[in-house]
Amino acid sequence: MKVLLRNPRREIDVPGPIRVHALIARLELNRESVLVIRGDALVPGDALLADDDVVEVRPVISGGAR
């Protein structure tokens, strides 16, 4: 599947099927620090992603002054 990552923006291929939490672990990310979005829908940790899916792994951590 195509996986869009941010900061910096890039796209990688990951073989499916794979569950969301396994994808996050494979990318060595913390589940608290990302959302996974397929199309325009959020997908929860136990969702199964297919090999032909396109997903975005969106970071949610902001830094700096507010």
């Binding site: 959020l42 940790g45 969106r58």
Partner: protein, 314 residues
């Protein structure tokens, strides 16, 4: 994975609440958290005029959305910080949100309206960019609230932000800052009340609110904030959270419930005695010229500098 409330398909899992939610019930959960924060800390009174600090990121737009949804008289104020494409995109998101809802968005462009920008202020003063940025925001939001007759300035600080600040203040035992770290600061010295209605929500939850509400927000990280200490604290806390869900909420909300009062006596005197009027802008300050006006003066005299990632001391 099923929604805890309706048993329909869940779209998000919240380990800290041992719960999964469908879109409808996640949005309801989020609203409850914000209402509870506003009520528990008496943030906004009926009839108050609220000025929302709108960066164009997920937290500020989620906050503005929630306040408007609840019927508050909430206008936005956006600052153009002059941080290249990042600022341009942030401004586009803030404007698009306001246009969609017919909401009032006030804007200040630092370069056009004040003669400086954040990268130049940082270079001219030797301050870290986040310090120059935060100082500018605090001053200009206070000023706009005062000039516009707003009762409250609302910011999008969330549970992760507050837990990270608390972590940093605890590591250094900065007891004065600990005593001041409350989500609602009363109006004083001509400044409006300052409130943080999102303190019961994590960043993941505010981002999910925006995705579900189809709010187009600035997703990219500020290029000047990369690698700062605050982000490092968040990473540490999220590592703990992943191992033990609920850690961040227990740390911060437990601090508010059981510890913050113990540090009140360490707060330097709030009396008007030590304050005077800034000889440039008229704001209350402890010096002849306030910190913001000092920075502006030096930044205006400096050649504008391009955006570049900051060098970090390790």
């Amino acid at each position: 994975m099923k929604c805890r409330v309706c048993r329909g398909p869940a779209v998000i899992d919240l380990p800290r609440h041992n719960a999964n939610f469908c879109p409808e019930h996640f949005l309801a959960f989020t609203r409850r958290q914000v209402v509870r924060a506003i009520e528990d800390f008496e943030m906004i009174a009926p009839g108050d005029r609220v000025l929302v600090a709108v960066s164009g990121g997920k937290d500020s737009l989620a906050l503005w959305d929630l306040l408007l949804e609840h019927g508050y008289a909430a206008d936005g104020l956006h600052l153009g910080l002059g941080i290249g494409d990042y600022s341009d995109q942030s401004t586009r998101c803030a404007r698009a949100f306001a246009d969609d809802r017919g909401a009032t968005l006030l804007e200040i462009d630092l370069r056009a309206d004040r003669g400086f920008d954040v990268p130049t202020a940082a270079a001219a003063t030797g301050r870290p960019p986040c310090s120059a940025c935060g100082l500018s925001k605090r001053h200009l939001f206070d000023e706009a609230a005062r000039d516009g007759g707003y009762d409250v300035v609302a910011t999008g600080h969330n549970l992760d932000d507050e837990a990270a600040v608390l972590f940093g203040n605890t590591l250094t035992w900065n007891t004065e800052y600990l005593g001041r770290q409350v989500p609602a600061l009363p109006a004083r010295h001509g400044f409006a009340r300052k409130v943080k209605p999102l303190v019961r929500l994590t960043e993941r939850e505010t981002a999910a609110w925006c995705v579900l509400r189809r709010i187009d927000y600035q997703v990219e990280e500020c290029p000047l904030a990369a690698g700062n200490r605050h982000l490092g604290y968040k990473e540490v806390l999220n590592t703990l959270e992943a191992r033990s869900p609920g850690t961040k909420a227990a740390f911060y909300l437990g601090f508010l419930d059981r510890a913050v009062a113990r540090f009140r006596s360490d707060i330097a005197s709030d009396s008007d005695g030590g304050l005077q009027t800034c000889n440039r802008c008229g704001s209350a300050t402890t010096n002849e010229t306030c910190a913001f006006c000092s920075v502006v003066e030096r930044a205006r005299a400096h050649q504008p500098v391009p955006v570049s990632a900051p060098r970090r001391r390790r």
